[in-house]
């Protein structure tokens, strides 16, 4: 048994960490946070040059063809750096949907553009409040066009194309849903930026008015593809959450060592030590669940649905726990705009919701465990 990343994969992690420390310091994150740019274009270009955007995209489609374990280690670093780029929407959602269901021509066209940093993609799934569900999809497809509304769409305002979930039937079954690819620059789509809790990852409303769309995957397969995309993205996003958890823990630890109160470093008080120990525990449990998810993802194991839900829940809890307690350890300073704590707090609480909420994934996990037990 080797339940760990390989030396090469760890080397890639170090490389990504070094790159991001240089190109994505908190100052760069703040440019986007303060609204000076919709995302960090220079960083995005750099990530493409490093080969990180196409790390799990096959060489035939312009990627590095490394694999999903490699993508997991990059994802962790993206989360650790709180990178203000459309990585999760483009790489975990759009690219995975294309990899799973795209025709050769679609893959050739879009995956190579993703890998080279020329195209930003996203998944347009939600239509207002609620969790992933075929019933909630009202947007209509007919005659090769789409009509309806999607929100929130992650990075929707900067995306070049979207994978859109649309209704193509009225039987009341999951097979009513199909997926489509829409070139967002081709007209027929109104794009409106929405304010949100974490401005470093934008959200948008897309209104489709007879927008041209081409099918992605077979008609009626939309929901089944989406479920797989969400599971795969759940593992990858969980690695981002673990990266963020670790960074929040580090920030809290460093502050507790430096800050003196009552004549002692605050990290010498048990109340503070125990907060940090509990952060370590939740981050460690999440990391271990994520490793299992990474194994399942990279081997396409039948355990993936259960492993993905467990990684997602554990990492969501850990990131929320670590980011809120990091602020607590920082005391009043932690609540200032000037300190970086709130950037992780924002990111933790938005990533907790972007693929469906915690309670949604809890429900999914128990469903999947029951199915396995019954089998």
């Amino acid at each position: 048994m080797n339940f760990d990343f390989s030396d090469e994969q760890k080397q890639m992690r170090d490389e990504a960490r070094k790159f991001l420390a240089e190109k994505c310091p908190p100052k760069a994150v703040r440019e986007v946070l303060d609204g000076k740019a919709p995302y960090d274009k220079a960083l995005w270009k750099g990530l493409a040059e490093m080969g990180f955007l196409g790390v799990a995209i096959p060489e035939a489609f312009g990627g590095a063809g490394a694999g999903h374990l490699e993508l997991c280690v990059i994802a962790e670093e993206m989360g650790r750096a709180n990178a203000p780029v459309p990585f999760s929407s483009t790489v975990y959602l759009a690219a995975e949907a294309l990899l799973l269901a795209g025709s050769d021509a679609q893959k050739q066209k879009w995956l190579s553009k993703i890998a080279s940093g020329e195209a930003i993609g996203t998944l347009a799934l939600f239509e207002g409040k609620g969790n992933p569900s075929p019933k909630a999809i009202k947007l209509q497809a007919s005659g090769g066009t789409l009509t309806g509304m999607k929100k929130p769409v992650p990075d929707g305002a900067i995306a070049d194309f979207a994978v859109v979930a649309a209704r193509t039937g009225s039987t009341g079954r999951d097979s009513d849903i199909s997926l489509f690819l829409v070139d967002l620059k081709a007209g027929g789509v109104e794009v409106k930026s929405l304010t949100n809790v974490d401005p470093t990852r934008g959200q948008a409303e897309l209104t489709f008015k007879n927008a041209k769309a081409e099918p992605l995957g077979a008609a009626g397969d939309g929901w089944s593809i989406l479920t797989q995309v969400l599971d795969r993205a759940a593992v990858l996003l969980a690695f981002e959450q673990v990266g963020g958890s670790d960074r929040a823990l580090e920030m809290g630890r460093d502050y507790a060592l430096d800050r003196i109160a009552f004549g002692r470093p605050i990290g010498s008080f048990q109340a503070v030590k125990h907060i940090l120990a509990d952060m370590y525990v939740s981050a460690t449990l999440a990391r271990s669940n994520c490793y299992y998810g990474a194994w399942a993802l990279s081997t396409n194991a039948s355990e993936l649905p259960e492993a993905a839900a467990a990684a997602r829940i554990s990492a969501t809890q850990a990131f929320q726990h670590c980011s809120k307690n990091n602020i607590q350890v920082h005391g009043g300073m932690g609540f200032t705009w000037e300190f970086d704590c709130h950037m992780y707090y924002r990111r933790a609480n938005t990533t907790a919701l972007t693929l469906g909420s915690l309670s949604y994934w809890e429900d999914q996990l128990i469903d999947r465990m029951r199915k396995k037990n019954a089998a």
Partner: protein, 415 residues
Amino acid sequence: MNFDDTPQEAAFRAEAKAWISANAPKQYEEELRKSSLGRTALKGANILEVAKAWQKKKADAGWACLHWPKEYGGRGSSPIERVIWQQEEGPFGKLSGMFIIGHGMCGPTMMAFAGEEQKRKYLPPLASGEKVWCQLFSEPAGGSDVAGLRTRAEKSGDDWVINGQKIWTSGAHYSDYGILLTRTDPNVAKHKGLTMFFLDMKSPGVEVRPIKQASGQSDFNEVYFTDVKIPDSQRLGAVNDGWNVSLTTLMNERMSIGAGVSTGFPELFDFCNSLMLEDGPAIEDRSVRSKLATYAVKASGLRYTSMRAISALSKGERPGPENSIGKLVAGSMVQEVAMYALDLQGAAGVLSGPEDAEVAGKFQAMLLRAPGTRVEGGTDEIMRNIIAERVLGLPGDIRVDKDVPFNEIPTKGRA
């Protein structure tokens, strides 16, 4: 990243599996499998006898104390082989409970500090379960603060004379030998005046009194020493160096990873899967599912954390303080799981008799045992200190008694 054995590991596993399948006391398998924390008793059999017989059988065939050297009754196996054995031994491993302290802590301490002749004399019968050992560290005045202990050892010719009291001594009532930490110099700082010995528990002047615990069971004891004589040849380590000797003992505790800590989750999941509530099956209830999911990811997180530790072990790394999280997480989780399972039973949750209570009172027994788990081997708070100080590098607690001679340290709180 993979879960596959190396060819060598696979061969070892196959050999272990075959031997266990041919020799384990299968008649107790189901009962052992179903037994949960606080309830490893066998109906119609003396569990001590069953456990000793299984241990002896393992020792005779070379499957006892796998990681110990062969000359002391072990097998000289690698840590990973030890983990494989534990996985294959499965529920029969629960029979080793009474030997854990001897095998995990006393044995390694003897190996590090006893003379060669003593090791050859005492270790093989410890490995084979013929002799049971206990660890005499904690005292009424020295629980988490072990170095605050007061049991005195005074030199008298070639012997030491012991007077004092120990407490929370697991298994002392059926132990043959023990390792004993004493104070030999009260005039120096508390960590500096301690000395370690091993002794025959049948020595004159040793009195063992079982403590009835909150759970109603009596696994622990008070042990009183009145002018007990121990020959100087049974001293472990130098005089007044007992603190360092005891650290070796406690470090070895961590080697026990991979044994699989009990979280109560599998029991709770099974229970919820079959339980009917007023409005339908419990497992269909949203709040039940949410609770279950939260416990599920803690349990799986622990399982995969231990797999990561095993991977590190197999690469030759030593287990570090980060392994403290197993006990910390599992301890409070068992307690919460038990409380939740009782909550789901409503008014009938108060019943604990095997005939009257749901699932034969399993969760009620778990509830009553759980507080002990959170305290033994270090309280939750001590575990958090270990993580904070040794993993995260935060400053140690302020110790006002650090350089104060032991006999000048205040012993009473409010006057």
